[in-house]
């Protein structure tokens, strides 16, 4: 039990230092107005996606709310009952604006959930490899090397070709694609932290191994993962959209942005551009915003660029 008492004041001081560091990090981040704007846009998109059922004019998954009379309307036109379709309708009379907000919701949820799971798995593997070293480390890292030598889309394609369609399967595929990045990133930062004195002190206190790894080593080795995770959320969203566009991602009953675009593809050649165009814009805005945030985070956290 002495272990906890020893930890407590350290944790307190660390929390205070953390606050100071966070404020510093924010002021460094805010130096780029573009990045702040991108963060605002990303937050707004998440808010819109979270509030989708309350702010959209229509529930695009509820077929009783769709009016087939209103199909293929151009953006800004009014429907049979005088309803305004700001971004037009698709072949089933679905309001594109509502469909995009719901699609965005699904894309963000899939991207964020997959990233979180992959982060947890990757961080655990990487930190264990770094702490124990030796055979285990070289085995795990060889695995990571091999996986990273294949492009993400290929691994996801292989998995989905075997597993079949479904939101859960897409998440499995995205997790399998991502975990290796986190494992490699946290391993290299944990290797540095492992040689620090506080780890030696913790070992001297004879704390249990898992406690040293997850309470002491992990929090200190974690920061570089934030950048990787941010960029990977964007990657995951793009990959999910791609897989759904190819027709091997999410099922047709719950269209994500990628599936909406695939749906509009067939009508594009006849000049009905809006079905494929606007979901793509939403996708693009989301990915660019997240990438810009990630880019600035990288600059802020890169010690080589510190003045």
């Amino acid at each position: 039990m002495t272990a906890i008492e020893h930890d407590a004041p350290v944790a307190h001081a660390a929390a205070a230092a953390e606050q100071g560091r966070l404020a510093q990090a924010w002021s460094a981040f805010a130096e780029s107005r573009v990045a702040v704007g991108a963060l605002g846009v990303a937050a707004l998109l998440i808010l819109v996606a979270a509030l989708a059922p309350w702010i959209t004019p229509q529930n695009p998954y509820d077929l009783t709310q769709l009016s087939i009379m209103d199909n293929m309307l151009a953006p800004g036109s009014r429907g049979f009952d005088g309803r305004l379709y700001l971004l037009g309708t698709d072949d089933q009379g679905r309001d594109m604006l509502s469909a995009i907000v719901y699609g965005l919701r699904l894309s963000l949820v899939v991207g964020i959930v997959a990233t979180a799971i992959a982060l947890a798995i990757g961080a655990a593997v990487g930190i264990v490899a770094a702490y124990f070293g030796g055979r285990l480390d070289s085995l795990l890292m060889r695995l990571v090397d091999i996986q990273l030598s294949f492009p993400a889309i290929l691994i996801a394609l292989i998995l989905l070709a075997i597993l079949g369609k479904g939101v859960d399967k897409v998440v499995i595929a995205l997790v399998s694609v991502q975990w290796a990045y986190y494992a490699r990133t946290i391993r290299s930062s944990a290797l540095v932290e492992r040689r620090r004195e506080y780890i030696e002190a913790a070992q001297g206190l004879a704390l249990p191994r898992w406690r040293i790894i997850f309470r002491h080593l992990l929090p200190n080795a974690f920061p570089p993962l934030i950048v990787v995770a941010t960029v990977q959320v964007a990657h995951a969203i793009a990959l999910e959209a791609t897989l759904s566009f190819l027709g091997i991602g999410v099922p047709i009953t719950e269209p994500s942005l990628g599936l909406l675009i695939a749906n509009g593809y067939g009508y594009m050649l006849s000049g009905r551009y809006w079905i494929a165009f606007y979901p793509g814009i939403a996708l693009l805005v989301a990915i660019v915003a997240i990438n810009l945030v990630g880019d600035q985070l990288r600059d802020v956290m890169n010690p080589r660029l510190k003045r």
């Binding site: 492009p151 394609l157 292989i158 566009f245 675009i261 594009m268 494929a276 990915i287 990438n291």
Partner: protein, 325 residues
């Protein structure tokens, strides 16, 4: 060098074996192999014949040996849809994919390298910032959506380029190529551009970073002191230095382009092996899926091997550090 080469080849064989085992387990353990390897339209007698022929009544490890043996002999099953050996089908579609990926790679370098160097030479200028911002946009653009927008602009609205297909081809070395006819080139332009934009952004960012790092080095200062023209310093000395890291990255990116061509080929109905894969997934033509996976993994293992060997030739430190461990 020879020892290094042998070790890398040994590793590649191991990776290949591991991947084939995974594909085998994916097909045989996760699904019912009879459903996967026998056409759904087959009748009872055909099913039993196939079960006996494939040895599905025997234990799993025997089946695995049979799978490995026939795979080594180049037999990966017959396509349900086309009735041809799956491997022949894949190989017949391969030139179209390689052609597309190669042209895209050339476009990516031709666009990315000069733009990246310009951005690296004056990172604070409006042009430099514009190029870097453009590169973020470039690799944020969903590949398939970019393809659709190019079709919309050039095929639907302007009607200057075709929306899909491979166009007229000409035979060379027993294979059909779009590259040598005007019509084929017109068909090739949009898909290749779509595939190239992401990589061009990547090359531009790498080239810009490498140029910035190279410009502050002593040999550039000496060259300037020697009175060389800026054009010569940048065009010869800087370019040579930044090419080394770029070559490796570009080599690896060629592989990723072949994989990403799946998307581009689907958008532009380009008859390559990626389109074949997606069609096969739709039609549950599983022998072709298995064959594609084996072929693409083999392609990758070869590309990675070649890049590693080239890199160790360019940079002896890699070889030496491997010897130490």
């Amino acid at each position: 060098m020879l020892a290094f080469l042998f070790r890398r080849i040994g590793q590649s064989v191991l990776v290949m074996a591991a991947m084939a085992t995974l594909v085998f387990l994916g097909v045989y353990a996760l699904g019912n192999p009879i459903d996967i390897l026998v056409s759904p339209e087959a009748d009872q007698i055909e099913r039993e014949q196939a079960i006996a022929r494939l040895g599905l009544d025997r234990p799993l490890w025997v089946q695995f040996l049979v799978f490995v043996k026939s795979a080594l002999a180049g037999d990966l099953g017959r396509s349900f849809v086309h009735g041809l050996p799956a491997i022949d089908l894949i190989l017949s579609r391969m030139p179209a994919t390689l052609e597309l990926a190669f042209v895209a790679l050339v476009i990516a370098i031709a666009l990315g390298l000069p733009l990246g160097m310009i951005a690296g030479l004056s990172p604070r200028s409006l042009v430099g910032r514009g190029i870097m911002a453009g590169s973020i946009l470039g690799f944020s653009l969903p590949n398939f959506w970019l393809g659709l927008m190019l079709i919309l602009a050039f095929a639907v609205e302007l009607k200057v380029l075709p929306a899909g297909g491979r166009g007229q081809t000409r035979e060379l070395l027993g294979l059909q190529w779009s590259f040598f006819t005007a019509d084929g080139l017109r068909h090739l332009l949009l898909p290749a551009l779509t595939l190239a934009i992401y990589k061009a952004s990547l090359v531009a960012r790498l080239a810009s970073a490498a140029t910035r790092e190279t410009l502050v080095q002593d040999f550039v200062r000496f060259a300037r002191a020697k009175g060389l023209t800026p054009a010569r310093i940048v065009g010869v000395h800087v370019l040579k230095t930044i090419l080394i890291p770029l070559v490796t990255v570009i080599g690896l990116e060629f592989g990723s382009m072949i994989a990403f061509a799946v998307v581009t080929e689907t958008v532009f109905a380009w008859p390559g092996m990626g389109k074949l894969l997606i069609d096969s997934i739709y039609r549950l033509d599983r022998p072709v899926i298995v064959a594609y996976l084996i072929v693409i993994v083999a392609t990758f293992v070869v590309i990675n091997l070649v890049v590693d060997v080239v890199y160790s030739l360019l940079d002896p430190r890699i070889r030496l550090s491997e010897r130490k461990t």
